[in-house]
């Protein structure tokens, strides 16, 4: 006989009270630090004043949104943000997977460990130092410009002078900094594949390449898809730190993104309402991307976040 939900829930609670106790701190964390502050986004519709507080400040409607959407540069900012983000995903997403697959084929444990450690080291360097290094490598008569001069580049000029190089420099330096770190999760997924599957494949006559294709890849496919869907959820989040450390007014056309523009607009002045408005706008687009991607992957591959 079917019992009501609350009855079943109570019963389950009595039986598994320790499991419920364990989950309680996590629930509290989300309630207190993630859900409760959410009402704060209403300041993006208010003339926010510290003294009056979030609730007490006066409503001003869509003023900040109008400000932002009516900016002469709105479309350019949107385009640059999406281009930089999409390029980061297109290049930066597959590389750690390939890197993990290659590492996985390495037989010498010591060599594998060394490569792994060396490759994820840059992840821990401060972005300010990373950008200083990038500037040094792309300056005139420097490492990269001298190298490219053999292919016809005029190495009297810094590469950051050119708007067409900004996105490649931004994306490839990201790859350099993060590939090692990002491949860790794939390595652990690879470690979870049942060895018997490889054995069976070998008995069936599959060579290394076929094993990779038919055992390894399907084995990590779920992880890849989930991470990809999650990554799409931050498509609008291009942080301003790296941008403002690398750009100059000569490359605004490809480098100026929403966050760097709002930074110039005066986040430094503590204009919280305006930045909350832009943050909300970004989040809405991010959510749309996650939902769409999740739905597509559910339909096409049968896996998804929810």
């Amino acid at each position: 006989m079917a019992q009501s939900f609350s009855k079943r829930f109570k019963k389950d609670m009595r039986l598994n009270w320790s499991a419920y106790l364990l989950v309680l701190p996590v629930l509290l964390y989300y309630a207190i630090f993630c859900y409760k502050p959410m009402y704060g986004i209403i300041i993006s519709f208010k003339d926010f004043s510290l003294r009056k507080g979030i609730v007490g400040s006066e409503w001003v409607g869509l003023v900040y949104y109008k400000d932002f959407f009516s900016s002469y540069y709105f479309l350019r900012l949107l385009k640059n943000t999406v281009v930089i983000s999409a390029a980061s995903i297109a290049v930066g997403f597959p590389i750690p997977i390939i890197f993990a697959l290659l590492l996985n084929e390495v037989r010498s444990r010591a060599y594998k460990r060394t490569v792994q450690t060396v490759s994820y080291m840059p992840h821990f360097i401060s972005i300010v130092v990373i950008c200083a290094l990038i500037r040094l490598f792309t300056a005139n008569h420097s490492l990269l410009t001298t190298f490219f001069s053999y292919f016809g580049y005029d190495d009297r000029y810094d590469m950051l002078n050119y708007k067409e190089y900004f996105v490649p420099i931004y994306v490839l330096s990201n790859v350099w900094q993060n590939t090692g770190w990002n491949c860790i999760i794939y390595l652990s997924a690879l470690a979870g594949i049942d060895m018997e599957l490889y054995e069976a494949a070998r008995i069936d006559g599959a060579n290394r390449w076929k094993q990779t294709l038919h055992v390894t890849l399907p084995g990590i496919a779920n992880t890849v898809i989930l991470l990809f869907v999650l990554r799409l959820g931050s498509i609008m989040s291009v942080g301003f730190e790296k941008i403002i450390l690398l750009y100059n007014e000569g490359v605004y056309e490809t480098a100026d993104v929403i966050s760097s523009y709002t930074y110039r607009r005066g986040l430094v002045k503590g204009d919280y309402a305006y930045s909350a408005a832009i943050g909300l706008f970004n989040s809405v687009i991010n959510v749309i991307f996650v939902l769409t991607a999740n739905r597509a992957s559910n339909r096409l591959a049968g896996v998804g976040l929810f």
Binding site: E249, G250, V268
Partner: protein
Amino acid sequence: MKKALLLLVTIAMFMTCLPMAGAEGTGYPYDGTNEPIRILRVAETRAVDAGYSGWGDTPFFKTWVEKSGINAEVIEVADDAGIMLTLSAGDYPDVILIYESAYNGGLNALIEENLAINLSEYSEYMPDYEAILDSHPSYRPYVTYQGGVRFFANLISPDNIVTRWRDMVVRQDMLDKLDMEVPTTTDEFYDLLYAMKNDLGVENPLMGNMWRDVLFYEGFAATEFGIPTAGSYQIDGQYHYGAYEEGYRGLVSYYHKLYEDGLLDPNFKTTDESTSQASLLNGTTGVHPTTGARINTISARSEDPDFKLVGIGSLNGSDGTRAMFSQLDPLTPKRINAYVTADSKQPELAVAFFNWLYTEEGTIIANFGPEGLCFEYDADGNPVPTDYMLNNPDGMSFDNMLYALSMANGPVYVIRALSMFRFGKPEQRAAMEAWDQNDAALYKLPPYSINDKALADEDAALWTDLNTYIRESMVQFVTGELNTDEDFDAYIAQLKSMGMDRLIEIEQIALDEYYAK
């Protein structure tokens, strides 16, 4: 009964007289029995670097407390956001030390939110500050808003040299080799760069990452083209913006010519400070925009005994017009101010505490730090920094020691004796005097601000776009991506369509308001 009444009256009189005694300027030190005045500020990390646990722990702060006889404590937070957080948590101190621009909405918001009370109501507790405000016409309008003095400010004495601290320098040894004089017009300047390139083989004669400021916003070469600067200025109280004037066309084409002829660093957009300083030292550049303080640090790094820098002031017009503009700080620079909040239980004491910084003794200590540790008097009675300040064991620079151990960046009356120490090397002083040969004071805008919230918001929205466009076009004109003959009219039209006229209108309203004070 009568006796009792008399006694009461006497006691009452005695009680009202007590704080008054302090206010006369003779009353310091107070009796030191008050609840500590709570001062909220962003941490002064240089105090920590100098070995103290915080700014409130420095000998300067302790001397201030001891000499004024008023207890105080400092709450230090990591950054401006920390101040906002502390305030939004409802924890209101007696005094806030903060840059006005760091508070959203500026002075207007500070007043509206009861964070900047009208100090004039306590004027008997700040006679020394009042006296200094009256000593120069530019001080009082700067600190006065909505009917009273609103904050304790960083004020610079009129005989000071710190207001001129950035412009162009050239290597004297190169001038000597070329047998040329310091240039005074745009043609002479071009000839000098040309000679450097072609006679001395200097790779990039003009280089430096302060190009925006010196070449454009401080009007280094603008006079020849009929505008003081590429940035904002005023003529007879009328607001103007140089990059929106016809004269700007000539200015950008002049810089384009320098770029085209290989005289301006081809990487001017991206060259950083250390690269350009290194180039100046190794002779791949000869003319360099820099600051008075850096003349010292660059020269100290040179191993070439002939290396010497001299200043080039803003260039005059070829028709004899005296240079119109340069970097020039007002006597009221926007530094960290002290605001007394309405939550203070003892505003009289808070006011008296900060007034002490403007007394004769307080001014010296607020400028130099405590006597004995930071400075001593020389035979002529002038304060001289000690070895601890100049060559301290932790290797901190004199400037950083000042930030740690005095009021360098906050409410203080900056006296000439201090600036003579910061910029006192003959080479620096000569450069700063050369930089001073112009009429900047005539065209400089006063330190006004837009006080109406709606106008300020409109201004910020317009300005972010306009400034992006102006700066982007600036480099495009210099590199030739935009042509001054063909594209300049379209550039002006674009600014117009983006609301430049409205921006000028708003600035004019604010400027008129300032002058009305």
